[in-house]
């Protein structure tokens, strides 16, 4: 392995171990899942207490109402069972109204007899396909249907294929039905999810950068403060040292963020009925990849800048306040949020998407709210990657030249002089 790559690998392993081996990382990483689990456990308890209070108040009549009666009083859920190879009798469930033909169900949907109609496709066992027509959607209906189908499939056989189908989520094709009976494919949820994905990643980028960019800055600055730089520079190339650090802290940040996102996706739907089930979320894999690419490129630029600041300053205390120089421009597109929501192709949003320091956040917001031309995406991403590489190279030069700044206060002039004479 070339010496430079070997140096990067060793620095990466050291920094990554140091980062994830600390108690702080473990506590911070597990905090979100633990809090969510506690909320999940607490909600039924709180709900139970509240219901007991109602009962104590003397609502005996309403308390005596059975689940079946409650279900029957609700607006029924329409169902058309076209999959003949599944033995399930929906008439046993009072909340469902069974139709033999889709058209009959759609007629009732238009007339307001029902609000939702599920058509379980003939090839359900192979594809999990279900058509979902609605005038007013409710996640509870989808959950109920899923549970019934799961029960039927698991009860029928021990076949691995059937078990797999039973455990998987139905693949919903969503259609809205207007008052005049017009049917249209629904993209509302997809748009909402895109928005959440874009916004979520943009916020996560800012957060990750504040957390891990600051740690990166501290580790670089500490090496100067500890006077380790000189020994390190005779042991590995400055670029290898910087690259190893940026990659290690980036990976640690990604792992932490992934755990948090997974916890939110897996746990929140269990107690928050307002969110759709995970299986219902129409995730656009292309969008997710693009947003992730901008996230990583944005992190690389900001991390290189943070490393540069750490290398140019002589102590952690001196470096700390300078982090704002990176975080403020990175978060700047949020100040133009109304513009991103109303006009994603405005000249300002396009300009912000091409400036490397604001591009990551801007592009994530634009991708979340509308379509962006592929050429523009490629140009923005390309500029970011080139800028990140240049900044990392510059940070490594400053790291080496920073030796000449011992004992001096940070100033642009001092940094420039050090860079010039550092060779």
């Amino acid at each position: 392995m070339p010496a430079a790559l070997d140096g990067t690998r060793i620095v990466f392993a050291h920094e990554f171990r140091k980062q994830i081996g600390g108690k702080g990382f473990l506590i911070a990483t597990l905090a979100i899942p633990v809090i969510l689990v506690l909320i999940w456990i607490a909600i039924p308890v709180i709900r139970g207490v509240l219901e007991d209070d109602v009962a104590d108040a003397g609502s005996a009549a309403s308390a005596a109402t059975t689940d079946a009666d409650q279900a029957a009083r609700r607006v029924p859920i329409g169902i058309v069972m076209q999959a003949r190879d599944i033995a399930v009798d929906f008439s046993r469930f009072p909340e469902f109204r069974v139709y033999s033909e889709t058209t009959a169900g759609l007629d009732d949907l238009t007339s307001g007899e029902i609000n939702e109609l599920f058509v379980i496709q003939p090839d359900y066992l192979a594809t999990g396909s279900v058509e979902y027509y609605f005038t007013e959607e409710a996640s509870e209906s989808r959950q109920r249907l899923r549970l019934i189908l799961r029960g039927a499939l698991l009860g029928e056989t021990q076949s691995p294929e059937l078990r797999q189908r039973a455990l998987a989520f139905p693949q919903l094709q969503r259609f809205t039905v207007a008052e005049d009976g017009e049917i249209a494919a629904d993209s509302g949820a997809a748009v909402a999810v895109s928005f959440i994905v874009g916004q979520g990643f943009a916020i996560a980028l800012i957060f990750t950068l504040i957390a891990y960019g600051t740690i990166l800055l501290q580790t670089v600055s500490e090496e100067k403060e500890n006077r380790m730089v000189e020994v390190l520079l005779t042991s590995a190339a400055p670029l290898a040292i910087m690259t190893g650090k940026v990659l290690a802290l980036g990976l640690a940040g990604l792992i932490q963020m992934s755990v948090w996102i997974a916890a939110v996706i897996l746990i929140v739907p269990r107690f928050a009925g307002v969110l759709p089930d995970i299986g219902d979320i129409p995730i656009d894999a292309g969008l997710l990849l693009l947003v992730l690419a901008f996230f990583l490129a944005g992190y690389a630029i900001a991390a290189a800048l943070m490393a540069g600041i750490g290398a140019a300053t002589t102590s952690v205390t001196e470096a700390g306040p300078l982090t704002a120089l990176v975080i403020i421009p990175l978060a700047a597109p949020f100040y133009a949020m109304p513009l991103f929501l109303t006009s994603t192709d405005h000249w300002l949003t396009r300009l912000l998407s091409l400036l490397p320091i604001t591009a990551a956040t801007s592009m994530m917001l634009r991708l979340a709210t509308g379509r962006v031309a592929p050429g523009e995406i490629a140009l923005s991403l390309g500029l970011m990657i080139v800028t990140a590489a240049l900044l990392l190279w510059l940070a490594s030069r400053i790291f080496r030249a920073g030796l000449l700044l011992y004992g001096q206060r940070m100033s642009l002039r001092a940094a420039w002089t050090a860079l010039r004479y550092g060779g």
């Binding site: 010496a3 430079a4 070997d6 140096g7 060793i10 620095v11 050291h14 140091k18 500490e222 090496e223 403060e225 500890n226 006077r227 380790m228 000189e230 020994v231 390190l232 520079l233 005779t234 042991s235 590995a236 190339a237 080496r400 030249a401 030796l403 000449l404 011992y406 002089t417 004479y421 550092g422 060779g423």
Partner: protein, 300 residues
């Protein structure tokens, strides 16, 4: 065999100040070279150029016969004057990491770390955080880290500063072990007695220029015999060829005029019937040469 280090006419200017001006010297394997000079002489800048940390404006540096490549730098152990370790890390982890960066495998890095910590007497402190160690222990640990990978060139910048005599002796022993092993060593210090004890050759740098360079004995002899030390109950009334005399603890020290014969001093004692307990023809010390050369250079 190629020289461990060849510094050939290197110069470095920061702004309008020339810090190093055409410095040249070589260092052979199994040799200890003293790099001495007053504060701000350009020693550290020269070392940094030798290690490719900063680039010279003129001249060249060769490590083991070629340019200071990453591969060549892996064969160097360096204890800088401005030194420190990761304060919050565990001692053995820090040394292992530095060993890995110097190209040791994980297993070798651990084995060498244990061996070096034992050699400098810090093995029982290996699991402690660096910040829990005393200043002297820190220094020993850094010294150990510079030697972990059995380097062929060792550069030690003020290695003994702040150490007690016992630890200084431990370090001196280890330096000689490294020399026996075949390593070439640059020893930079302000303590001239240490340099005289440790080094065969010296480079004296001041104002970025080399003032003296060569084998210590030859440099001393080249300056001629100037001092005579005599231990006797009294001194003769007249002393031939003596320009200055001092008395210290019953010992007479004479500074001879140029070209004077030391034996004439001994003869003067004997002719006067004064018994001589000890007669010593002394070569000038490195300290004397240092002060004389640097003073001359500054007044020029």
């Amino acid at each position: 065999m190629a020289s461990a280090l060849t510094v050939d006419g290197v110069s470095k200017t920061f702004g309008r100040t020339t810090v190093v001006d055409g410095v040249s010297f070589t260092l052979e394997p199994q040799e200890i070279l003293g790099l001495v000079g007053p504060n701000g002489a350009g020693k550290t800048t020269t070392i940094r150029m030798a290690l490719d940390i900063i680039h010279p404006d003129a001249g060249s540096v060769a490590l083991f016969g070629s340019g200071p490549t990453r591969r060549a730098l892996q064969r160097v152990g360096y204890l800088p004057e401005e030194r420190g370790l990761y304060q919050k890390a565990v001692l053995t982890d820090v040394l292992r990491y530095l060993g890995r960066l110097k190209g040791l495998s994980a297993k070798d890095a651990q084995a060498r770390t244990d061996a070096m910590l034992q050699r400098v007497g810090l093995y029982e402190h290996r699991a402690k955080k660096v910040q829990a160690l005393s200043r002297g222990m820190n220094q020993l640990a850094q010294f150990a880290s510079a030697l972990l990978h059995l380097p062929d060139l060792v550069i030690l910048d003020e290695p003994f500063s702040g150490l007690d005599p016992i630890n200084v002796q431990v370090m001196k022993d280890i330096i000689h072990e490294q020399q026996q092993r075949g390593a070439a060593i640059i020893f930079s210090s302000h303590n001239m007695e240490d340099v005289e004890e440790m080094c065969e050759r010296v480079v004296l740098v001041s104002g970025g220029n080399v003032l003296l360079y060569g084998a210590l004995d030859e440099l001393k002899r080249a300056r001629g015999i100037q001092n005579i030390r005599v231990t006797a109950p009294q001194q003769p009334a007249a002393m031939p060829g003596v320009s200055d005399a001092t008395i210290e603890n019953g010992r007479f020290e004479y500074l001879l005029t140029e070209g004077s014969d030391p034996n004439a001093v001994l003869r003067a004692f004997l002719d006067s019937g004064i018994p001589v307990e000890r007669f010593e023809v002394a070569l000038p010390s490195l300290r004397d040469m240092f002060i004389e050369e640097v003073s001359r250079a500054r007044s020029a």
